[in-house]
Amino acid sequence: MPVSNYVNTGDMIRFLPEIILAIMGTVLMVLDPVLQKRSSNAFGTISVFSLLAALAASAYAYQNAGPAFGGMLTVDGFATFFRILVIVVGILTILPSYRFLARQDAETSEYHALLLYSIAGQCLMAAANELIIVFIGLEISSIASYVLAGYLRDDKRANEAALKYFLLGSFATAFFLYGVALIYGATGSVNLTMVRAAITGSNAPSPVFVGVAAALMFVGLGFKVSASPFQIWAPDVYQGAPTPVTAFLSAGPKAAAFAVFLRIFMTAFEPISNGWEPLVWISALLSMTIGNFAALLQSNVKRLLAYSSIAHAGYVLVALTARSDVGTAAAMFYLAAYAFMNIGAFAVVSHLSGKGERYQNVDDFAGLGQKQPVTAAMLAIFLLSLIGVPLTGGFFGKFYIFKAALESHLVWLTVIGLLNSAVAAYYYLRILVVMYMHEPSEAANNAEPLTPGLSAALILPALGTLLLGIFPSWVLDFAGKSSTLVK
């Protein structure tokens, strides 16, 4: 039953997750005057249910997979994978936020509304098959993120983070947009499928021109995924933003940006992949190396994890360098694993940091193993996963990535990447060391007991991490099936 010539029911079903999230975000704002004074936790709970509904909608949309809105959206396995991923990221962000927002005396309604909007934007990115939709999704996600980063408006660090994120983000987006313009000029279309057709077609534009357009898009997307040489904003922003927001930034927008990255470069620009492969190779190498080495000397945990997230972006880029379906699947899997372990780690940081986020130093984790064994054990799982110890998702993620890389004969990149992961072990171990092998610090002594929300926020990602490590097939099979993108 067509709504009009241009919109039919199928389109709406495939767009359902975004619709739900947008509507529920608005509902939160409407409920604000009613609930804000009485029960500030209600917003979080509503959000979680909204996200669960969106999750169901994503699955439902997948049942009716196919293009929507005249090919602007493509709901396929790939899109569904990332939709589910960002929605789960959202849930895992909200769980530790209850206590965090309460501790900082912050309003909850706008926070959750913005979060839902941002996730809606990311879902849109995941499904987008046209560059203008990508751009709009990116901006929805980003602008909401800018606000979230500066959400604690009296916090100087948060302000600064928001400003840096906003200015540099817009700056990079302008580059992306310029790239979109050029590709439009080169091919007459911004639809990825058609762009690809135009590039490979008989009347192909100059490959140099396409290359420059791809380069400008690479700038914008590289910035969003904090890949080197565009990683430079990440540490400051991650450090300054409220910790749950940092967790969200490091997982959600990053995953969505990678989804776009993969989709654009593995479909539209796949024909010129020989051209961009060396670039991604170098970018992967630089990201891993810069991230890991710069993290060696960090004492601020959030900053440390920021650098580590740069390094992890590098690992995903290794998978992209492989330029194969296996590589795409590996990248997808890794992003999922990374989301779990990283959000989990940030949840512990958020839990421990206390009012005003005073305790953010590595030394503040001292003795946590004695004071809060469960918290510490969970963090240990996340850290071991970040290191890449087997039976954790992080290990399998790395494993699949390097497997894909070796299949594509990227021997040296693999070796460098693996050596990098050995270097990385050093700074993660530092946290493990102070946590288990030092006497309790002031922060550990003052740590609040775990609330149910927080427990869930720790245990769910830990379970996810272990599950991905022990039974990776569940996710990997889906990723593998979805990695063949429509070309």
Binding site: L167, L168, V208, V212, F230, A294, L296
Partner: protein, 618 residues
């Protein structure tokens, strides 16, 4: 014939005393310790009696010890005539010395309670290993005994383990022996490489067919092992220090049995040596050099046990000369007679020390002849035996060796004869200083040792007197070893006897007739005397040339240098370089938004250039 019982009895004694001896009375300890050895002796007698003429070896197989692929080491024992001789010596003298020890150790408590049982346990363990060594039917089982006796030697030298010099001596003994064993092991490896077996029967049967160079190499390597165990140059240094152990130990292990294992082993390996003349020559030269060299040191020593220790080294040199010149049976002959008289000398010395409550310095003795006559007279038996006076034990064996040496190379004979004179001289010196003249020690109740010590002394005295005549070892072993074509030569015999007598005479002149003469002679030859008195400074040279460079080098160069500085330094260097890189990378993160934008711009330009070029832009 249950050969396994022979070593196993002492092992049982060791196990019982070792595990439970602390709770036992001395009597009970004695029962197990002495009982096991004496039983073993009895079993040896019964075995030998039951084995007939023993012209071919009698072998018993027990179990496969080591097996790897086709290569097998069996735990086999074998008895032939050589073994029989050794068995008798070891168990016989061993029994005597065990009995003697009851008296000698009677007042022993050791550094902690239970020194007594510990002593006997070790002694029994020694018997076990020595018998294993002797009974072994292949090199590896022999090596078991070989190392095992070394261990017991180590334990017994360091018996007074609260005394540092004793434990030092123990370590020295073990380590020097290890150097010898190094040679022995390498010999075994080469034997396996060549013959694919370690069984005596196989190896010796194939030996004749092997190239001479191979056999020479094997022979020389075995010689290194023998030199370690039997205290030959250059590995003799441990034996004099080994006197730190209780005297019965010196008698049993460091005179009569263990130190002769090298001689036994070389004699046992004669099929290899007979085809390796170069190796034999080396043995002979080393033997005679050791004999002479140690004898000269013996002249100047003041510790009664040290004198006999150097004497032992010297006499072992003789045995090696015997083996080296091809007179294997003569070597074994001297081994046997030496066991009699040297054990006696040590036990006698022990009796002297015992009666003087621990005094060992000859300068503090004198005139003991009348105070402990029984000891004196038994020691006289040994004295005449070692001096080569006919018809006592030492005469026959020494003469046999010298005779063979003369046929081999006259210079060895002459040096050997000179050494015989020196030997007679230093033993006489010790005897004169201890028993003649007047007592120079502190006031002391000097008492004769108990009967339990005297009986073994007496038996050994008798054996020293008549043992050489009674046991014609060369005849007994004639069928085993290749024969030497040689004839009795009375001139040579007379010369060597004369040398011995001359030695005694000079000693009498210097220490009894004109007591000041020795000192004045020493004063006039001060340089030489100091050199010899200090044993040619060999220990010091080893210390300066080997031990301290190795120890200090290991500490300063290897550990603090290579390990800490170089390797760890490299690892830490990598780590700190990584941190340096990290700190540089951090500095890029200036916090300034415009700088960041410049970075993004920089990256953009690079990316545009890169992808432009990839697209074909020049």
């Amino acid at each position: 014939m249950q050969l396994w019982l022979i070593p196993l009895l002492p092992l049982a004694g060791f196990a019982i005393n070792g595990l439970f001896g602390r709770r036992f009375s001395k009597g009970l300890v004695n029962v197990f310790a002495i009982g096991s050895v004496v039983l073993s002796f009895a079993w040896v007698l019964k075995t030998i009696a039951g084995l007939g003429d023993l012209n071919t070896a009698y072998v018993e197989h027990y179990f496969t010890w080591i097996q790897s692929g086709p290569f097998t080491i069996n735990w086999d024992f074998a008895v032939d005539r050589l073994t029989a001789v050794m068995l008798l010596v070891v168990t016989g003298i061993g029994s005597l010395i065990h009995i003697y020890s009851i008296g000698y150790m009677a007042h022993e408590h050791g550094p902690h309670h239970g020194g007594y049982y510990r002593f006997f346990a070790y002694l029994n363990l020694f018997m076990f290993f020595m018998l294993t060594l002797v009974l072994a039917a292949n090199f590896l089982v022999l090596f078991v005994g070989w190392e095992g006796v070394g261990l017991c030697s180590y334990l017994l030298i360091g018996f007074y383990f609260d005394k540092k010099f004793a434990t030092d001596a123990g370590n020295k003994a073990f380590i020097v022996n290890r150097i010898g064993d190094f040679g022995f092991s390498l010999a075994m490896f080469y034997i396996v490489k060549t013959f694919a077996s370690l069984d005596f029967s196989t190896v010796f049967a194939k030996a004749a067919g092997a190239p001479e160079s191979t056999l020479t190499l094997i022979g020389l390597l075995l010689m290194v092992g023998a030199a370690g165990k039997s205290a030959q140059i250059p590995l003799y240094v441990w034996l004099p220090d080994a006197m730190a152990g209780p005297t019965p130990v010196s008698a049993l292990i460091h005179a009569a049995t263990m130190v002769t294992a090298g001689v036994y082993m070389t004699a046992r390996s004669f099929p290899i040596y007979t085809h390796a003349p170069v190796a034999m020559e080396v043995i002979a030269v080393i033997g005679i050099a050791t004999a002479f060299f140690a004898a000269t040191i013996g002249i100047t020593q003041n510790d009664i046990k040290k004198v006999f220790a150097y004497s032992t080294v010297s006499q072992l040199g003789y045995m090696f000369v015997g083996v080296g010149v091809g007179a294997f049976s003569a070597g074994i002959y001297h081994l046997v007679t030496h066991a009699f008289f040297k054990a006696l000398l040590f036990l006698g010395a022990g009796s002297v020390i015992h009666s003087l409550s621990g005094e060992q310095d000859l300068r503090n003795m004198g005139g003991l002849r009348s105070k402990i006559p029984w000891t004196f007279w038994t020691m006289v038996c040994a004295w005449v035996a070692i001096s080569g006076i006919p018809p006592f034990a030492g005469f026959f064996s020494k003469d046999a060796i010298l005779l063979a040496a003369y046929h081999y190379a006259p210079w060895i004979y002459w040096l050997g004869t000179l050494t015989a004179g020196i030997t007679a001289f230093y033993v006489s010196r010790a005897m004169f200083l201890a028993f003649f003249g007047s007592y120079r020690g502190h006031e002391h109740h000097i008492h004769e040792s108990p009967a339990v010590m005297m009986v073994p002394l007496t038996i050994l005295g008798l054996l020293s007197l008549v043992g050489g005549y009674l046991f014609k070892i060369p005849v007994f072993l004639g069928s085993l070893f290749p024969a030497l074509e040689e004839s009795e030569d009375f001139t040579l015999m007379a010369i060597s006897v004369a040398a011995g007598l001359l030695g005694i005479l000079i000693a009498y002149m210097m220490y009894v007739a004109k007591p000041g003469m020795a000192d004045s002679l020493a004063a006039s030859l001060k340089g030489l005397y100091t050199l010899v008195y200090n044993k040619y400074f060999v220990d010091e040279i080893y210390g300066a040339a080997v031990v301290s460079p190795v120890v200090n080098g290991s500490r300063a160069v290897l550990w603090k240098g290579v390990d800490v500085e170089v390797i760890d330094g490299a690892a830490n260097g990598i780590a700190s370089r990584a941190q340096d890189v990290g700190s540089v990378l951090r500095r890029l993160q200036s916090g300034n938004i415009r700088s960041y934008a410049a970075w993004v711009l920089f990256g953009s330009v690079m990316v545009i250039v890169a992808l432009g070029m990839a697209g074909g832009f020049r």
